[in-house]
Subunit: 603 residues, 2 copies
């Protein structure tokens, strides 16, 4: 009895039903989404993508194409799956491009801009092989973070101004970021269904330099909201003391969770991302887990042009967890994302109970590793002493009983070595073994560090430019806090430019070991091995050493050049020493040659 | 290299491994959890329950027993499943007693008190038949809601005092309820893993009368927090204007979500709950969906003794969605829960697109119905006009394609009637057909209404006592807001006492129709049918009519008695008329006989 007649609705939506029409594939094997109803007119492209993937599944093609223009994607009709994504937040997610069990699929955006609305994950590549994505950019209609310009600051409060890109309300005296739409239905005792953008931490950025503000500190634990009151149109006074920011800077409200990564790669091999620009997503840009052979070429993580947004993705640009085979990132740009350019590591699970010498319980401790299972029958476990990060042997898994996303009971062949106790940890000894090549990439302006290197495979880092506020290269790994397995075996760092790194609070050296080895074990543990640092240019304002390392077995530092700069002040007026290397064996450090600014530019 | 030797850990936990030991079943078919390691000493009972259920699965018994004492249940090692629970909030839940695919299982608590910690669902009965639970009580170590005593109130703020039962912090100027434990790890950019208790609405209770405060109003939309500051030990000033409360009352902070119902029954039949007391849970007490033959005897929903808590469960005591067969609730007590004693209804999905006369999209609109699928191949759909709630015919489902938890594409045999348009709704015509008997129950002090009756089966309500702040009996149903299918066919209401109902804001009559029929269709729609109201006692202070009805076909009101009271004031000094019945057919109303207070007590 409403006014829309059936035939009109049916007509408007007829294209939805042309799923299996082979006529749409004009070029052999090519499925053009525009023939399936996709239009660059603001309408929802999700049903056309669903239809295209259905056609691929039916063998009607293996390449999906778009063309130039803006295509919009809404969560309403998107595929849905509960996903555990390492170092991001788990959840029942809507996914615009669910690429599951695909073999040899290629998606060519043809220069399109893909704009996602609300909590919609752009891409999931799961259980697939040889998937290629190319030639498009990704943005969101409303970013998951918010940016406020600092108008005034005292030890008690901060005054901020927001543009229309960051709709907000002050509700019951608390700052709330919204999508600018009022709730459609009346308020009741039940879930509202309203779309909001909770925040979890604050950090100031410098809008001129387009980077984290000099020595700015994160403010955590604001996830329950911050008291505020309005002081003018789009202006608020945030009642929070001791914020590390200055007038004119941009205070960035990071999303509380990493719910919406840009591209999730899981249990897949042979993934090629080429000429893709991620302007934004609500989590990591590209996160790959339990996968192999990942090739990213001219992948750019960068805010959109126009100057209205300083942040690109709200967490790491890329991230690799328990990956094998080969990882390559070439000619990439990673800037102004809200965490590191990359981190290549494995996973540790903690031994939380031992029932018998062949039967024990392990737990995933880090909340963002819960559910990222890596132990099954046949897994070869590396056994690891918690505080010292030393190997205690290996064990083959006979069977597992998964209690829940946190805990699994493991039965092994044979018995545990006697040294293994509750509190020690296990890793998959054959994962996190990828050979890594990172070449000709630019990394700058983001929060925190540059490359976090933890793969056990051979690693080559060459020809890159780093301008990171923390360590440019960090060797991490610990089984007491982050539970990320690392411990490199063979690393070459050559021909890179380290350009005024460490202008922020996230590091003690340009190249640094940060592995979580308890002080008392550093003299004996040799967690990272065989690191060669050759023919790099270090432009340094002298706040921290070039090298800050411990517990390394095998280090050479040769043929490097140093250019001293005054581009940033020394906070305590004191220049640091160049090298801080302790508790290591087989160390060979050659003093860097000193170059002037002109010579460096010429070289 | 830690200090705990393997053999000690193994010894302490050996009982976990005795899962399959037939010796534990001393009495034939009886599995005593105490023989599997369960102890009333504060330790986690979950592993023993897991072992007992494993023994049942292996055929070693069909009855699990406890004994007197307090048994604790922690989420750490509990079973986990993503659950869509109608009228509660979906999520990946930990479940202490996961009773899945069980046939004929009985659990006898032997008088035990079960205390659950954190976000742990006590019971899930799923895909099971003939399950009996008896003889235990349920409580939580920290309730999901919080209660503050009103010390002072102005139009701008409320001053509150909390006891140690409701730990809280003021964090960045915002009130946050916690479990009283500090986070174990340092703050970072990632999820904290901290356990907090977000709140979503406020309502004042009268601590003397142990009921909602006279005419108190809910305050919604506080889910993003409320600004506050400390004014003394355990005292805060809440910066929120116009709260409906008085000094000395208890302001109840309801949990933001209904994440932790007490007992979830889904896709099961033959469930008997006997002599069970639910002191608390974070959602509905017992929620049954897509199930049949549910018998609750002496089920009590009531706060614990001791006077430190005024609220029992944080939502409805019981609730039945798309249930069939028979529902019986006899000799039950439902008091001080944060919503209705029960609601028996079906589900409507809205038609959101019509592709072709035999193919259309339906959507679950209510956020707490998302994922509660009820349409599959073979389902007989009732087609329903949205604004008038009139039947437009039936259709048999040929196939469905589920897009996500909200949307499903349905293909039917034949075609839709021409009157069906986008905006109309569908229900499962053969669900929500249970015969209902509610006898000798007491319902009082809770938020909102009494019985919400919507089953299409025969309903008998007899011998109950109602002291509810809204309508004692409400005939609901709508397909525009709550999307709950109702529309009774045969109801007898006899021998009940309606004792001073409607002392709150949730009703316009003691027995009321609230069905969502648009005004212009009330004269023609006859959504509720054949209601007989006989031989009841109405004790009324006259604020609202005894009957407030519309769009009913068939109503008799005979042999009832009325006692006028002065137990509550008349807010506007005006006594209401006794009957407000409009737009109805076949109505027979006999004036009630008037009784004095003494006569009523004697009768």
């Amino acid at each position: 009895m409403n006014t829309t007649p059936i035939h009109l609705v049916a007509g408007l939506l007829l294209l939805w039903t042309t799923v299996a029409n082979p006529a749409v594939a004009r070029e052999a094997g090519v499925i053009d989404v525009r023939e399936l109803g996709a239009k660059p007119d603001g309408s929802d492209t999700t049903p056309s993508v669903r239809a295209a993937l259905e056609a691929v599944r039916k063998g009607e093609g293996s390449k999906i194409t778009f063309g130039p223009g803006r295509y919009d994607f809404y969560p309403d009709r998107a595929f849905e799956e509960y996903l555990f994504v390492s170092n991001n937040d788990e959840g029942l997610k809507r996914i615009a491009f669910p690429l599951k069990e695909m073999d040899g699929l290629e998606i060519d955006g043809g220069g399109a801009t893909f704009v996602f609305h609300g909590y919609t994950v752009p891409f999931l590549i799961s259980g697939s092989s040889q998937v290629k994505l190319r030639n498009f950019s990704v943005d969101f209609s409303r970013p998951f973070h918010s940016e406020g310009k600092v108008l005034a600051i005292t030890p008690q409060h901060v005054d901020l101004e927001f543009t229309e890109h960051y709709p907000f309300e002050i509700r019951n005296g608390v700052l709330v970021f919204t999508n600018g739409k009022k709730a459609k239905t009346k308020a009741t005792t039940v879930t509202s269904g309203e779309v909001v953008y909770p925040y979890g931490s604050l950090l100031a950025f410098d809008p001129i330099k387009q980077e984290t503000a000099f020595m700015a500190k994160d403010r955590y634990q604001v996830g329950a909201g911050i008291a505020a009151h309005p002081i003018g149109p789009n202006r608020i006074r945030l009642r929070i003391p001791n914020i590390s920011a200055r007038v004119g800077e941009i205070l960035v409200f990071s999303p509380k969770n990493r719910d919406v990564p840009g591209v999730i790669v899981t249990d897949s091999s042979g993934v090629r991302l080429t000429d893709i620009t991620l302007h934004h997503c609500g989590g990591m840009g590209v996160i790959a887990q339990r996968s192999a052979d990942l090739f990213y070429t001219r992948l750019k993580v960068t805010p959109p042009s126009g100057g209205h947004r300083i942040i690109s993705t709200t967490a790491d640009a890329t991230h690799f967890v328990n990956c094998r085979g080969r990882i390559e990132m070439v000619d990439c740009l990673f800037e102004q994302q809200k965490d590191d350019p990359t981190n290549v590591h494995g996973l540790y699970a903690k031994i939380t109970h031992i029932f018998a010498p062949n039967r024990f319980e392990v737990s995933m401790i880090h909340p963002q590793q819960a559910g990222v299972d890596f132990i099954g029958a046949g897994t070869r476990l590396e056994l690891n002493d918690g505080p010292s990060l030393t190997e205690e042997g290996f064990a083959n898994v006979k069977s597992v009983e998964r209690l829940n996303k946190h805990r699994t009971i493991v039965e092994i062949e044979g018995t545990l070595p006697e040294s293994v106790t509750v509190g020690d940890s296990v890793a998959d000894a054959d994962a996190n073994t990828a050979e890594v090549l990172i070449r000709n990439c630019v990394m700058r302006g983001n929060r925190a560090r540059g490359l976090l290197l933890g793969s056990r495979g051979k690693i080559v880092i060459e020809g890159n430019t780093f301008h990171t506020p923390g360590a440019a290269i960090l060797f991490e790994g610990d089984s007491r806090f982050w539970f990320e397995q690392a411990g490199v075996r063979d690393v070459v760092i050559r021909g890179n430019t380290f350009d005024n790194c460490n202008y922020g609070v996230w590091g003690t050296g340009t190249i640094q070991v940060g592995s979580g080895i308890a002080e008392e074990f550093r003299s004996t543990s040799r967690y990272n091995r065989n690191i060669r640092i050759e023919n790099n240019l270090f432009r340094s304002f002298g706040r921290v050493p070039l090298l800050s390392l411990y517990s390394v077995d095998g280090l050479t530092f040769t043929g490097n050049r140093l250019e001293k700069t005054t581009d940033y002040p020394l906070p305590d007026g004191q220049e640091s020493k160049l090298f801080d290397v302790t508790d290591s064996d087989d160390v060979k450090i050659e003093e860097p040659s000193t170059v002037s600014e002109e010579a460096a530019v010429g070289g």
